[in-house]
């Protein structure tokens, strides 16, 4: 039963952590903790929500360690061929800007934004998946979108200003 959920857990973990190995470590720790705490799961609840909640708590617990590792390592799966980058340089730049802006968000907002993007839950389910109240989830999502919008807008302004100066 859990096997069906593993790809979803891996995807969310990858979005949170970025590096494949670190993400899989997180998923494995999640599965181990879920197994140890299996008595806490109520069969009436959705298994996916419970597993995501476990994963999210673990992620928050180990975040300082992950951040240190992230500063020192470049994941191989994040390295792409130069040719591919050149072919889509404009698109890549935009994507990089989006992900860079997301990374600058407070962690609690970033996690919600990523969850909404990859799992697309409704408010109630999303809140359950992260162990939050529905109102908290909604307000954080709203703030996350607002901040992301502001950051991207300021990036656009910064990028446009040299042209303005020349123009």
């Amino acid at each position: 039963m859990i096997g069906v959920e593993i790809p979803h857990l891996r995807r969310y973990a990858r979005a949170l952590v970025r590096e494949r190995e670190a993400a899989d470590d997180l998923v494995q720790d999640t599965l181990e903790r879920a197994w140890r705490k299996r008595r806490l799961w109520r069969p009436s609840g959705r298994l996916r929500s419970w597993l995501f909640r476990v994963l999210y708590r673990l992620y928050l617990d180990r975040r300082p360690h992950l951040e240190r590792a992230h500063r020192n390592l470049i994941a191989l799966d994040s390295v792409r061929p130069v040719a591919a980058l050149e072919a889509h340089s404009e698109l890549s730049l935009h994507c990089r800007d989006v992900f860079a802006a997301i990374d600058e968000l407070p962690e609690t907002q970033r996690a919600i934004l990523l969850l909404m993007a990859v799992e697309q839950p409704d408010y109630r389910t999303g809140a359950r998946m992260l162990g939050l109240k529905e109102g908290t989830f909604r307000s954080r999502l709203s703030r996350a979108r607002e901040q992301l919008h502001d950051r991207l807008a300021s990036d656009d302004t910064t990028a446009a200003s040299p042209e303005d100066a020349h123009g």
């Binding site: 790809p7 995807r11 599965l31 197994w35 989006v98 992900f99 990859v118 709203s142």
Partner: protein, 276 residues
């Protein structure tokens, strides 16, 4: 508050619609909403585009094969790998005891050996013999430093009829791997072979007149690679040393052979003893 809730829901509906999560039956409602507030609608479209971009970035993860370690489930917290290491040791000991290694003579237990090979209690009057044929010599130690593993412990698990030595290696504080070595008459060096024993991989090879078995919390392929590295290193060190004579007492404690390549600190030794 109610009004704010409604606005949030409308906005999220619009984002979901623009992201393609809602069907065309919402088209009229969203268009009406967008006509009332074009700026907010533009922002919803942009948020939807970002969502789609993120989703696309990680969509492929769903189709990736799941790593075996996640299906097996248990990379392990400290206690878990200790249990597994104990089980692995038990597998090796059981293999030795049941003449799994070819032409090793069947061992008649002279005492008890627990799952981790901690204690062996020979019967009264049984004194271990030190063989002149080399059966009682300490085996050459495989060098795994090229793979990043450091030797942290060595002890004799069983002394008769052939010495069975356990070598413990560790890499960056991770779960240890263990090499079991048992002297055998000289024969040609063999390449490592990985087989499954009680559901866990085990690599075996022969070199320098010694049978080796490698177990650890690794996949079969990693285990084989590590074993190949051990054979390829061809730097058995240190040189074989005379085996200590076993005490004639009834209770035999594990023999800690001297470590020359890597001496564990007092704390490590204590920890190692405690773990085992």
């Amino acid at each position: 508050m109610v009004e704010s809730d409604r606005q949030d829901r409308d906005y999220e509906c619009a984002v979901a619609f623009y992201a393609g999560r809602y069907g065309s039956c919402y088209t009229a409602g969203v268009q009406s909403w967008a006509a009332d507030d074009p700026a907010r609608a533009a922002r919803a479209r942009r948020d939807a585009a970002i969502e789609r971009r993120i989703a696309r970035e990680y969509e492929a993860v769903l189709r990736e094969p799941i790593p075996p370690r996640l299906l097996a489930g248990r990379r392990g917290h400290r206690r878990a790998w200790l249990v597994r290491s104990g089980a692995a040791a038990a597998v090796v000991l059981a293999a030795v005891s049941t003449a799994w290694w070819p032409d090793v003579q069947r061992v008649v237990p002279t005492g008890s050996v627990n799952a981790t090979g901690l204690e062996s209690s020979p019967g009264p009057g049984e004194a271990a013999a030190v063989s002149e044929t080399g059966a009682g010599m300490a085996p050459p130690i495989p060098d795994l430093s090229a793979q990043g593993y450091r030797l942290i412990g060595r002890k004799v698990v069983r002394d008769t009829p052939r010495t069975l030595t356990e070598l413990t290696y560790e890499k960056n504080g991770g779960p240890p791997v263990r090499v079991y070595a048992q002297n055998r008459p000289p024969q040609t060096t063999s390449q490592p072979e990985v087989s499954m024993r009680d559901g866990r991989p085990l690599a075996r090879w022969h070199a320098h007149g010694v049978n080796y078995a490698l177990v650890g919390d690794l996949s079969a392929s990693s285990l084989q690679e590590l074993a190949r590295g051990a054979v390829g290193s061809d730097h058995p060190a240190p040189a074989a040393q005379p085996q200590r004579r076993m005490p004639p007492a009834n209770t035999l404690r594990p023999v800690e052979a001297p470590l020359e390549e890597a001496s564990p600190t007092r704390a490590e030794s204590a920890q190692l003893q405690g773990e085992m």
